[in-house]
């Protein structure tokens, strides 16, 4: 019994809970009991010795359901915390589908992190996609349905790529183990592409800002925690020190920032900011030294908490004020003082100001980077400060107060806990450093990082104020058009030129699909010749025809 229990990864605790959940009465008691699930999941592996458990054979493949080492342990802890906070935040929720989806989603992400082979990873990888889309659909309505479908297509597509990659790798090497890979064959490139989609690499990450803002108040908190961080884990496990990730990560840290500044929907802006933060982590993974990996992983850990905090606070605003548009909000610190205080801590962590968890983790990556990369990342930090602190701070601390209710107690608890953790890690970084996969001593509070971070933030603050003074702040324009206009006509012209053949292709594809579909329908629809019920004589005719063909074959 003990062996069996050990061999199951903590993912199954979540899945079992999701299965029995519909049987329990729907109410406060159930919501409270749900909180015990992540705690139990963490307790199940917290004290286990590192090693590989749950080795089974399935269809002749050797699978490892449960691999426990420093890296998976830390992500397991992070996902347990994220699941706990998300469930606490959603304590008021009485929607079984969302509750079950949250549990399955958290369980699948946990299972993927503990997967010791690519097949197990693939199964949980797809399970995160299928369960998380329910959180987007839970909002209801046409827009969220369509956004969910788009999200699902991309996520399942990533899974299909992963499957293709692992099948090729299996043929090449005969091994399914999920270990560090090098980019030398189509197989590993395909796997990287699968990870890249889920990690929202530049050009591949459109789904993130498309789907998250369309989710429910509580759903966005959950979504933000797992999918992308799972991808970061997969990259850290599969491609540490892969050089190409450094430029990609830098681009990823910088590119979403104009969009974050431009978006009127603050949750959308936050989704772009999230994407930019992932860039910092990808850079750390690309550098690949123990210090940099520690930075990337630690950043992911801290990020799950402070990013969740931001989504919680904005969700509370959406629930209380009925809107999350920057242009319609203001003075929220009067009506929602608690939320305002918490979001300030979240925003400062985002911008990596000293004394926050963002600072003590990001500076690990910074100190491992080359000077050029460092400068680019500091520039990105300035942008993050503009979007996270100034833009979001404005609706809380300036303007005429909007009527809004303060967040319910459970939500405030969840936010308070997140804020406490963010500050705690910032003040006593040793707490987190001890858990990082590599044992490399590091002291974040030295002159250079503190000074540089303050300078970057100060520069961000000044640029933002200058833009505000000049009236160039793009708060009424969504991201892309603003970028095009400000960058001059060239960008717009390029975008336009690129759009034309695409539109033609899209028209052509639509026509082809339409005619193809209608033709198929005429053939195979309920009244088409394929599906119609024939008179019994015609049925018999087919028998004769087939017999004739068979007998003709005897003359071959």
């Amino acid at each position: 019994m003990d062996m069996l229990f050990q061999s199951l990864s903590p993912a199954f605790i979540y899945l079992a809970a999701a299965l029995v959940l519909p049987l329990s009465p729907n109410g406060r008691v159930r919501a409270l009991v749900l909180l015990a699930v992540p705690v139990a999941a963490f307790a199940s592996f917290a004290a286990m010795p590192y090693g590989e458990y749950g080795q089974i054979r399935f269809l002749g493949l050797a699978l490892t359901l449960f691999r426990l080492d420093a890296l998976s342990w830390l992500f397991g802890l992070a996902f347990s915390i994220a699941a706990f906070l998300a469930l606490l935040y959603a304590l008021h929720l009485r929607d079984s589908v969302q509750q079950a989806a949250t549990l399955i989603y958290a369980g699948a992400a946990t299972g993927a992190v503990f997967a010791g082979d690519l097949v197990t990873l693939f199964i949980f990888w797809e399970a995160t996609a299928l369960s998380s889309v329910l959180l987007i659909w839970a909002k209801g309505g046409e827009a969220s349905y369509k956004a969910g479908m788009r999200y699902l297509v991309v996520q399942v597509g990533s899974g299909v790529l992963l499957f293709a990659g692992l099948a090729m790798l299996w043929r090449e090497t005969g091994s399914l183990a999920f270990e560090a890979m090098t980019l030398e064959s189509l197989a590993t490139w395909t796997i990287l592409a699968a990870f890249a989609i889920k990690a929202a690499f530049p050009l591949l990450g459109g789904w993130l800002a498309d789907a998250y803002p369309r989710s429910t108040v509580t759903g966005a908190v959950t979504l933000a925690a797992f999918t992308t961080k799972l991808a970061i884990y997969a990259l850290a496990r599969g491609f540490p020190g892969c050089d190409i990730l450094i430029p990609v990560g830098v681009a990823m840290a910088l590119l979403p920032l104009p969009y974050a500044l431009g978006a009127d929907d603050l949750r959308k802006s936050l989704a772009y900011l999230l994407n930019s933060q992932l860039g910092f982590m990808v850079v750390g993974i690309g550098i690949g030294t123990p210090l940099a990996i520690n930075g990337a992983v630690g950043h992911a850990f801290a990020h799950i908490i402070y990013d969740g905090l931001m989504f919680m606070a904005l969700g509370a605003v959406l629930a209380g004020a009925g809107t999350i548009k920057e242009s319609e909000l203001g003075g929220l610190c009067k009506t929602m003082p608690w939320t305002a205080g918490f979001i300030l801590i979240g925003a400062l962590s985002f911008a990596a100001l000293p004394l926050t968890s963002g600072f003590v983790t990001k500076s690990l990556t910074f100190s491992a980077a080359t000077p050029l990369v460092q400068d680019l990342l500091y520039a990105a930090s300035a942008g993050v400060f503009m979007a996270a602190v100034m833009k979001t701070g404005r609706v809380f601390f300036t303007g005429t107060p909007v009527i809004s209710a303060e967040a319910p107690l459970a939500m405030r608890f969840a936010m308070g806990l997140s804020a406490l953790l963010s500050l705690g890690i910032g003040l006593v970084p040793g707490l987190l450093y001890r858990l990082l996969p590599f044992d490399t001593p590091y002291q974040p509070y030295s002159l250079h990082p503190v000074l540089m971070q303050l300078l970057a933030s100060g520069a961000g603050c000044l640029i933002w104020l200058a833009l505000a003074k000049l009236g160039w702040l793009p708060h009424e324009l969504p991201g892309m058009p603003w970028l095009c206009r400000k960058a001059g006509t060239t960008g717009a012209a390029i975008a336009d030129a690129a759009k034309r053949p695409w539109a033609r292709f899209a028209r052509w594809r639509k026509r082809l699909l339409d005619t193809g579909l209608s033709r198929t329908f005429r053939m195979a629809g309920p009244d088409g010749p394929l599906a119609r019920t024939l008179p019994v004589g015609s049925m018999a005719l087919w028998v004769v025809v087939l017999l004739g063909v068979t007998l003709l074959l005897t003359y071959l």
Binding site: L59, I123, E126, P526, M539
Partner: protein, 506 residues
């Protein structure tokens, strides 16, 4: 002492008892009359025969083929019952599905058949079961024909039993009768030719004589007639046209039972004739498989799945899906490798379990709402979440999502195609899964995202339907997670049929 003697008796007559129990229980039902008592007799008989088939399977797996001479007349003159790795593998499926279908029928049949006629219904169901078991276990080709007729005649009656609720069932049963009779006639003509060429009706004897004698036109004629006759019974495209109506208008319990067993038994007969009787010695036989059966199988997969996507009636949709599934099994058979054959056998069992559970769940849905039209079932997922979950779980099996039984069958077929060097076939199988995704998605979309009709009246579903449906679904899900037993059984059967080829992997 008595217990020991009974056990000895059962062990000695095991092969014939498998058939005899339901065959004798059928007239007992007829005489008894009372519907509760007949139901009890029928259920007991099906459970007994299920236990016997399992015992037979274990015995054959342990000790090898088992031969039984009916009435003590030795083969090839007497009728031989012969259990080997192939039919011992199929028998538990048939009796097992019946064991689930009978409790299910108790909950649902009241809608279709008047109380005082229910004893007739149960005896027809038992006759059908006895016929299907007999076809599978007998070692005599004419006996196959006899049992095939017993099961077919009973199944025409069973389909017509749906006429109490929807009179279109009569027309469906009539078409089914005409077509089924044509198929049976072709089959018996084929047997006649075989008898003419060899002078024997015993399968083992036939196989021996055909292998040694040079193939002549008579044997080829026999082959053609049998292929077409059985092809009709197993709904090979384009001989499938009796199936959609029969499955759509029959009572739910009948649809679940027939979909999981009747076409599967016909597939067994096809395999038995191709690989044991004819043995593919004549190049013509292999040619036919390659040039006729394989293309028809693939056309069947794509055409029937496409038709299923556009159906508005959920039962009809799954009926078309059954035609597509028969296509998968035919392609596996037509690969002519042990792997392909094993893939088909795995699919026979896995699809039988999945489709049986699926039709049971759909039956619950139609009983509760009084309709099976998708356009009338919008938003039903919110009022009947559990039933929809069962349908979805079955649907995922049809697509072949990992951890379902359907995945195991698809996996087996794809790897068999790859092993045979037919990469295009592997691609086609994977591509066709998208079509299955299409029709399952239509149900999910309508049931979960459609706007619910507030005035809809939902009638309670009796527990007698819920428990068998979920029980069978659980079995099919278990077969997806623990495929070893079914895989091994199928591999052993395939090996025994193609002993001259190398063993089966995976």
């Amino acid at each position: 002492m008595i217990a020991g003697a009974t056990a000895g008796f059962i062990a000695k007559h095991l092969p014939v008892l498998v058939v005899l129990v339901p065959l004798m229980a059928a007239p007992a039902c007829l005489i008894t009359g009372n519907r509760h008592a007949t139901w009890a007799i029928a259920t007991l008989a099906s459970w007994t025969s299920f236990a016997l088939t399992v015992a037979l399977f274990i015995r054959v797996a342990g000790q090898g083929p088992l031969s039984y001479s009916l009435g003590g007349w030795a083969a090839p003159f007497g009728i031989e019952y012969r259990a080997d790795a192939l039919n011992a593998f199929i028998l538990p499926l048939i009796a097992g599905i019946a064991s689930f279908a009978l409790p299910y029928a108790r909950g649902s049949i009241g809608r279709d058949v008047e109380p005082r006629q229910q004893n007739l219904f149960y005896s027809a169901l038992l006759l059908c079961l006895a016929g299907l078991l007999g076809v599978t276990i007998t070692g005599d080709v004419f006996n196959i024909f006899v049992f095939l007729e017993i099961s077919s005649l009973a199944s025409y009656v069973l389909v017509a039993a749906g006429g109490g609720r929807d009179r279109r069932a009569f027309k469906a049963a009539f078409d089914y009768l005409i077509m089924g009779t044509i198929g049976a006639s072709f089959f018996v003509i084929g047997i006649g030719f075989l008898y003419m060429a060899t002078g024997t009706l015993n399968i083992a004897d036939l196989a021996h004589r055909l292998a040694t004698a040079p193939a002549d036109r008579t044997v080829r004629m026999a082959y053609g007639f049998i292929l077409v006759g059985i092809g009709l019974k197993l709904a090979m495209m384009p001989l499938h046209q009796w199936l959609p109506n029969a499955y759509s208008y029959a009572p739910p319990a009948v649809t679940a039972f027939l979909a999981a067993t009747a076409t599967k038994v016909s597939l067994y007969v096809l395999i038995r004739f191709l690989y044991t009787v004819f043995g593919l010695d004549d190049p013509f036989e292999a040619q036919t498989l390659k040039l006729l059966v394989m293309p028809l199988g693939i056309i069947g997969i794509f055409a029937a799945s496409t038709v299923a996507i556009f159906q508005n009636d959920i039962r009809r949709m799954f009926a078309w899906s059954s035609i597509a599934q028969a296509g998968y099994m035919l392609t596996g058979i037509a690969l002519m490798t042990p792997q392909g054959l094993a893939a088909s056998l795995v699919n026979i069992v896995n699809h039988g379990l999945t489709k049986g559970a699926l039709f049971m769940a759909v039956g619950m849905l139609t009983l509760a709402t009084g309709t099976s039209r998708l356009s009338d079932l919008r938003g039903i997922g919110r009022t009947m979440p559990w039933t929809m979950a069962a349908i979805l779980a079955g649907g995922l099996g049809l697509i072949g999502v990992p951890l379902t039984a359907g995945f195991i069958s698809k996996w087996a077929l794809v790897s068999a195609a790859l092993d045979a060097g037919q990469w295009w076939l592997a691609g086609a199988v994977l591509l066709s899964s998208l079509l299955a995704l299409g029709y399952v998605w239509r149900i999910v979309e309508t049931a979960c995202f459609g706007k619910a009709d507030e005035t809809r009246v939902i009638e309670p579903v009796p527990l007698a339907m819920v428990i068998p449906a979920w029980g069978l679904l659980a079995v099919s899900l278990y077969a997806g997670v623990q495929p070893a037993l079914i895989m091994e059984g199928a591999n052993a059967a395939a090996r025994s049929l193609l002993p001259h080829l190398t063993g089966v992997g995976g």
